[in-house]
């Protein structure tokens, strides 16, 4: 998780002070949680192995959260992300069992996600269905398709009987490089860097924030709102499928119920990291931190042998507090505004 801090310095993704404060706060919470659990577990929590386990565990949530960050910035939402995760994973696994090479199968899996995102985006931009309803519907539809592909059963790579393929696939999902760093976490950090740059450095990123901040103003400035939003949903579909493929790879088997409910984890990660649910604000780095906050909580509570049901209560409460903090901060900001006095009016 420390690697995310290094990234801050490198990319300089903070755009202004309030954003910095928000991330600083999320980052502070993360550090606090680490120390808190470190002390309570007598140092066990801070063992390198444990921290790397957390990094591996948060990877799919974080990747899912990246796409959701894009969608949330437009002021939309994608409730189908968890289903697309399952769908992309199972299509990729199925492609491997059908004899496609691993790179081709991954491509097919990600294209599945792109297509799913395109469908979501078309419903929302062209048919004007509200994002909540459109993606609630497709959540069911994509889950159904996932079940159809797997015919209700997991698609196992191991059952193929090809040692080599199983090994390569499993390495993608859970192997380590440079000693003990999980491969998927590397993928996650690379994805974060790329998408972070897209958000902060490209014309597309600027358009995305403009659309989310004031859609009509953006439209009247000649920004193609439909294309901008559509792209956000496509990115979300692609990252969802990517998370699904990594998850399937770790188990060498794609579960047809994989990713169920993950969309909410992804949204929570984004929101804790400072992405606004009403659009116009957000960033990838925050989502990385947010995902780690969730992962650290879960892992720490496990180590403390907190009852699983109690864990759910705690995590749920934290999500609500996170959103509450976000909205109250925004409100305070809006209320405290005093226009800069017009100097020229005195002349």
């Amino acid at each position: 998780m420390m690697s995310s801090k290094v990234e801050t310095a490198k990319n300089g993704l903070f755009k202004n002070r309030s954003e910095f404060l928000q991330k600083f706060l999320a980052f502070g919470v993360l550090i606090f949680l680490c120390i808190f659990f470190g002390v309570l577990t007598g140092g066990n929590f801070l063992q390198i192995d444990n921290l790397l386990t957390i990094a591996l565990q948060v990877t799919p949530y974080a990747i899912l959260g990246f796409g959701l960050t894009f969608v949330l910035i437009t002021g939309g939402t994608d409730l189908s992300a968890g289903s697309v995760l399952g769908f992309g994973g199972i299509v990729c696994a199925k492609a491997i069992t059908l004899g496609f090479s691993i790179p081709v199968a991954i491509l097919i899996g990600i294209l599945t996600g792109v297509l799913a995102g395109l469908i979501n985006g078309l419903f929302i931009t062209k048919l004007n269905v509200t994002p909540f309803i459109a993606t609630l519907g497709t959540q069911y539809a994509f889950r159904g398709l996932t079940q159809l592909v797997g015919q209700g059963k997991p698609v196992s790579i191991r059952a193929l009987g090809d040692e080599q393929i199983t090994k390569v696939f499993q390495f993608m999902g859970g192997g380590t490089v440079f000693g003990k760093i999980p491969f998927p976490t590397i993928i996650m950090l690379i994805t974060a860097t790329i998408l972070g740059i897209v958000l902060s450095k490209t014309g597309y990123g600027r358009r995305l924030f403009a659309v989310g901040s004031n859609e009509e103003a953006a439209r009247l400035s000649g920004i193609n709102v439909v294309k901008t939003k559509l792209t956000a949903y496509i990115i979300c579909g692609a990252t969802s499928a990517m998370a699904g493929i990594l998850l399937a790879a770790r188990l060498a088997s794609a579960q047809s119920n994989a990713g169920s409910g993950y969309e909410l984890e992804g949204i929570a990660a984004a929101v804790i990291g400072g992405t606004s649910v009403i659009g116009g604000e957000g960033g990838i780095l925050g989502t990385v931190i947010g995902a780690f906050v969730m992962g650290v909580l879960r892992n720490g509570l496990n180590l403390l042998k907190v009852d699983a049901f109690v864990q759910m209560v705690i995590i749920g409460t934290i999500i609500v507090l996170g959103v509450w903090y976000d909205t109250s901060r925004r409100k305070k900001q809006a209320e405290s505004i005093k226009p800069v006095k017009n100097c020229e009016s005195s002349k």
Binding site: N214, L220, S221, G222, I223, K338
Partner: protein
């Protein structure tokens, strides 16, 4: 004749604006009292004070001789004051009966007594001579019928004082007739009505007295029979043009922009043209279709038909992108609603319509973006602590300059200003006018929509007046007067088929 209402010396200020100063109004039982004034004169503010939406800073309100304070809308309702706004406050998914008796339905125990509810509703509808089904859903009714339901609701509160704000703005002639029949009935019942309307000719049919407000000040009250429309118009606008506009000699060139046969749901304009360096003012009352015309030209709204020529060449404008590509820009009426992204920085807003020009292979050239923002912050003298300040924190005048900068980045030939100085202070206004003159110096053709007649007269080279979606008259700078503009705007005279 008993006096129902007296408002004395009412004053009200909003931050930076004195909306009303020492305004008085009285209303007798069974009287229709017309309230006249230009857009923004303070009529609506006065009525909002009467109905408890706003509270007066100074002044007293007496109802039937007793001094009252109207702290909220509930209190106004209890005092028998009902207001029918231009925008209705009905629940479209509920029935007529439920709307009229909202939260006051007759009940047996915890349950709504449907039979009694319908009965009571029918009684009121009969009283007003309305043939509306009490069980009909409000959304299935026409605009006129919905208005009747609003009136019925007011009657159900036993309102003695009824405020009608532009009630005929959306009605057809026969609907207006039936509205007036109801007004006659209410008069006979002793209800006093304050009636706000721009349609001076129809006031003659119902108004007993008329009061005029101008720039938040009370001008006078007159028996309607004793004033002519001409005196009324003069009273509404009659002020001297003071020197608020930069003196400027414009150099007018060839026709730069021309549009023919613009037809959409809301506008029907045969011809409009603007020369290089010229400012064409577009005047008209609210709802005359001025903004709709601008949006149609800019490709923001769908049109059935339109031919646009820029620099003498026929161009196809079917989207905002194509409008921008052909050098047309549009500065919207409400900069907060659709002009700026308030949560974003000055730099991002200035460059919003210019992003694609700042990109290389999809990546924004940040230093070019900063240079560009810096250039306009300096040349337009935008007062901001830094280009990374959120636009939300700037004053109205500076926000307006940012919107302007957004268009100046692009190679703009035709620029439409929609209410360019609304809500900004006098000093900043003057600066905006100077910027408009600078643009005209550079040969930009400017279309300026404004509800401020002084602004129209002070800045325009020619003035097109709109009424009901059409251009009802075109005036040269020399011949234009406020009276003439208002005559065209209210539809009192109409030179049909004349283009701008």
């Amino acid at each position: 004749m008993t006096e129902l209402l007296r408002m004395c010396g009412i004053s009200k200020s909003f931050p930076g604006v004195r909306a009303l100063s020492n305004v008085s109004l009285s209303l007798n039982a069974g009287e229709v009292h017309a309230l006249c004034g230009e857009n923004g004169a303070g009529k609506s503010t006065l009525m909002k004070i009467l109905s408890g939406v706003h509270q007066a800073d100074e002044g007293d309100i007496f109802i039937e001789g007793k001094k009252v304070s109207i702290d909220n809308t509930k209190k106004a309702q209890q005092l028998g004051i009902s207001i029918i706004f231009q925008e209705f406050n009905l629940c479209p998914h509920l029935t007529v009966a439920d709307n009229i008796w909202l939260d006051r339905q007759p009940k047996t125990g915890p349950f709504v007594d449907d039979k009694k509810l319908i009965e009571k509703t029918q009684q009121i509808l009969d009283e007003l001579g309305l043939s509306i089904n009490p069980k009909a859903l409000v959304r299935s009714l026409s605009v006129a019928e919905q208005q009747m339901v609003e009136i019925a609701k007011a009657i159900s509160f036993n309102s003695k004082i009824l405020i009608l704000d532009e009630p005929t703005a959306a009605l057809t002639q026969s609907e207006i007739d039936s509205l007036f029949n109801i007004i006659y009935k209410l008069k006979a019942k002793g209800v006093g009505m304050v009636y706000i309307s721009h349609r001076l000719e129809e006031l003659a049919r119902i108004a007993d007295r008329v009061s005029v407000i101008r720039d938040g000040e009370y001008i006078g009250t007159y028996p309607y029979k004793e004033v002519t429309i001409d005196t009324l118009v003069h009273l509404m606008v009659g002020r001297e043009l003071n020197n608020k506009y930069p003196v400027y000699q414009r150099k007018i060139g060839n026709v730069l922009f021309e549009a023919r046969n613009i037809a959409s749901n809301k506008v029907d304009v045969e011809h409009i043209q603007v020369h290089a360096g010229e400012i064409l003012g577009i005047a008209g009352l609210m709802g005359a279709g001025r903004t709709e015309l601008a949006r149609a030209i800019f490709g923001a709204d769908k049109t059935f038909h339109k031919e646009v020529f820029v620099d003498g060449k026929l161009v196809e404008i079917n989207s905002i992108t194509s409008a921008i590509k052909n050098g047309i820009g549009y500065i919207t009426e409400d900069r907060k609603k659709d002009g700026l992204a308030l949560n974003m920085t000055v730099e991002r807003n200035v460059n919003m319509a210019f992003i694609s020009n700042l990109c290389k292979k999809g990546f924004v050239n940040e230093s070019a973006a900063k240079t560009n923002a810096d250039k306009y912050i300096n040349s337009l003298r935008i007062k901001t602590p830094s280009m990374f300040q959120k636009t939300r924190n700037l004053s109205g005048g500076n926000q307006q300059k940012i919107v302007l900068a957004k268009w100046l980045c692009n190679d703009i030939k035709v620029l439409i200003f929609d209410e360019p100085t609304r809500g900004i202070d006098v000093g900043a206004k003057y600066e905006i006018y100077e910027l408009m003159n600078r643009l005209s110096d550079n040969g930009v053709a400017i279309i300026m929509i404004s509800s401020d007649l002084q602004e129209i007269l002070g800045m325009s080279d020619r003035i097109a007046v709109m009424c009901n979606g059409r251009i009802s008259g075109v005036l040269n700078r020399e011949e234009a007067t406020q009276e003439k503009i208002l005559r065209y705007a209210t539809g009192l005279c109409d030179e049909e088929g004349k283009g701008a």
